[in-house]
Every structure is written in C-alpha cells, then in structure tokens.
Amino acid sequence: MAQEITLTVNGATHTSQVEPRLLLADYLRSVLDLTGTHVGCDTSNCGACTVSLNGDAVKSCTVFAVQADGADVTTLEGLASADGTLHPIQEGFWEKHGLQCGFCTPGMIMSSYDLLSKNPDPTEAEIREGLSGNLCRCTGYHNIVLAVQFAAEKMNSGS
C-alpha cells in the first residue's frame, strides 16, 4: 500500500508514492536515480550507504523512506557546487588518493562531511573514531585520514 512522501534531496523537493518498506537507500538510488549512495552490507555495518538526514549522518539502508517524509537529505551528489567545483572533502580524496575501488568512498565522504560539520579541526584519533562506522577493504584507511585532514585544513582556511 503506497504512501505519499515529500522530502528535499540536495536542495530539490520530491513528492513520491512509496511502499513503507522501501529503504531510503533504495529510494535514493532507484526512484531518484542518485546512485552515488551505495549499498554494501545492507546490515548497518559498512556505512557505504551513509547520507545526511536533517544534518546528521545516517545509514540509509537502515531507514525507511517514509521515515524521511518532510526531511532534508544530502547525498554525495549534493556536495559539489553547481559549476562542478569539488567540495573540499572530494578534493581531499582526490589529492590524497583516499580511495582505490571507490565503493566505500561515498559513505566515507558523507561521514567526513558530518564529522567536519560538528568538529571542524579533528585530531587524527578523532577522525579515525568519527569514521568508525565506515569500512574500507582497499586502503587501510591511511589515505582516507590524510584526505580528511586535507579537507579540514582547506575548509578552515576559508578558501
């Protein structure tokens, strides 16, 4: 039995008819074609599905789309500027080689986005702890930490 939801995703308002059991991750990917959000483990562990929901990072595989009715969602696709300029976090992952296969990367970036919005100048330990909800099989996390440090410095320098 479909229900109507209205939510803002990356600044655009969408009204959709969805089954209550449709996960937010699947809504974003299949209904809105925003496939930047990845489904990795589907069991709330890996964090590849991380998005920002009303200003907080959440695992979108563990939220129903109906729970996001009336909410403000930001996904990876919402970070770059309209003219295509990368967000400093995206730039950091590029500059510091913070990815290999790229599967975890959207989640890593969205988690970093949350971390830096609440703790703009984190220590290395705080970065590692702050991203502990995101798993990466490729990088060993080292360059991810460097990417976040790059982003923090750039964001704090006002450039």
């Binding site: 039995m1 229900q3 089954e19 209550p20 059991r21 996960l23 589907d42 069991t43 709330s44 562990n45 964090g47 991380t50 929901l53 907080d56 990072a57 959440v58 695992k59 563990t62 939220v63 129903f64 109906v66 729970q67 009715d69 988690s111 949350d114 971390l115 702050g130 991203l131 502990s132 909800g133 995101n134």
Partner: protein, 288 residues
Amino acid sequence: MVTSSFDYYAPTSVADALALLDQHGDDAKLLAGGHSLIPLMKTRLAEPAVLIDLGKISTLSYINEQDGGLAIGAMTTYSEIAGSELVQSNAPVLADASGQVADNQIRNRGTIGGSLSHSDPAGDLPAVALALGAQLTTSSSGAHRTISADDFFVDLLTTALEPNEILSEIVIPALPAGTGTAYAKFANKASHYAVVGVAAVVTVGSDGTCQSARIGITGAGPKATRATGTESALVGLNLDDSAVRAAASHAGDGIDFNEDVHASGEYRAHLISVYAARAIRAAVENAS
C-alpha cells in the same frame, strides 16, 4: 534486503500512538531509532504487520534537569545524550556509555527508549540504567506507571512493558555528593556491542570508605543485571586495589554466561571480573 510488507503510521502525539497501539495490538511494533528493529525485519526475524513510528512525536525528545538529576524523553538519541552538558554533569556514565555505542551514524538514530525497550543482551544502556537506579515512566491509554530499572529487564529481549505501553520517559535520580561513575566494556571489534560491559556508580564517604555501590552488567548473560555480590562486598570498605579486585571477583555470581562466536562463557566469566574492577576503579577516581 527487503522487509515483509507492513502498514506504517507516523502519529504526532503519544495519545495518537497509544490509540494505534490499542487498535492494532499484537500486529504492531513501535519504531524508534530502528537500528535494532529494521535489521531484524530485513532478515525476516521480525515481520510486524504494522509499524507505529514514534519519530514524529517531538514531545518525546528532551533532556531536562529534574530534582538534581535528569528527565530524558524516550526518543532522545545516543548522540544527543552523549553531547549533552547536562548529562555529562548530572549522570556522566550515561553520556560516556551513549558515546560508546556502535558508531556515529547509529548514534544519530538510536534512542535511549528503544535501547531499554529492546533490551539487547549486549546493549550498553540497560547496564547503565541499572547502575543509575533509573525510573522508567510508561504510558498506555489512560494510564502512566513508573517501573524501576531493577524490575524492568525480565529476560532475553524481554522487559516489563505491557503490549499496550510505550516507554516515554527515563528519570535519573540525583547522584549524592561523593559519587563517581564509569562504564567499562570489552567491545566486539566489529559491531562494538559489549562482549561484557560494566557500569559502576560508587559513592565514597568523607572517611574514604564506600557508602554505596550499584554495578550494572551487560553482555554476560541473557539480560542486564546488577552485580549484587560485588556491591555488598564493596560497602564499608576502603576502596584500595585489593578490595576492589576481591569485590569484582564476585561480579559474575549467578550469571548464566552467554556462549557464542564472540566469546566462550568461560572467557566472559573471566572478563566480567576484570571489567568490573576497571569500572569500579574509574568510578572511584571520578568520585567528587
């Protein structure tokens, strides 16, 4: 993964939620943060026909000072609790433990009410609720009642909540002067669930001896329990290292230890004494 189908309601008041609960009875489950329930539904271990989402009831989300202690709405998230200066001041162990749950994303959704109502055998907050002597207020159509934490955790994944009740508020009494609190857990490396977890609330008198102690245990058995053997062994003593260790050696008394892929019962029995000692020592150090 896809859950089974369900009807979904998002009431905006407790009264409306209770009316829905009365209407749908056993067909309905309450949805709080959803990070225990939704994974259970995705694996089809739970297939409720109706979900009543408490997430749009803004009146269930608050942290207030009350009589020197705290009154916390059941839908308050772990993140809100961990970051609250009021909780850090009036019940530091609650803020500390809340900040150790899972990870940032899960803490942004999971709630204190959901944690206590679900009563996961490895969840952190039930042990903390026991150690703090929390009083849990429930609402049902036309009634409220208060259940002490000591009476709330009944069995594996089972609480004293009746099917028509919603846990609405958690009251933490004021901590007496000279009280220190701490939470120590041996966390599973992947999930951060407690293989064992110990919450200690210890009051030290001006003569340096223990006036009272409440020790909450999780991860060890089917439900969170008080380590009453350890508690009584501490009272009246000077809390030096040997006294703490001796008392902590009783932390596992009466517990039917969990055996699973994460740890044997024997290892949990060993860990519980180690972590009880650590929690007590840390609480004593924090005592002011």
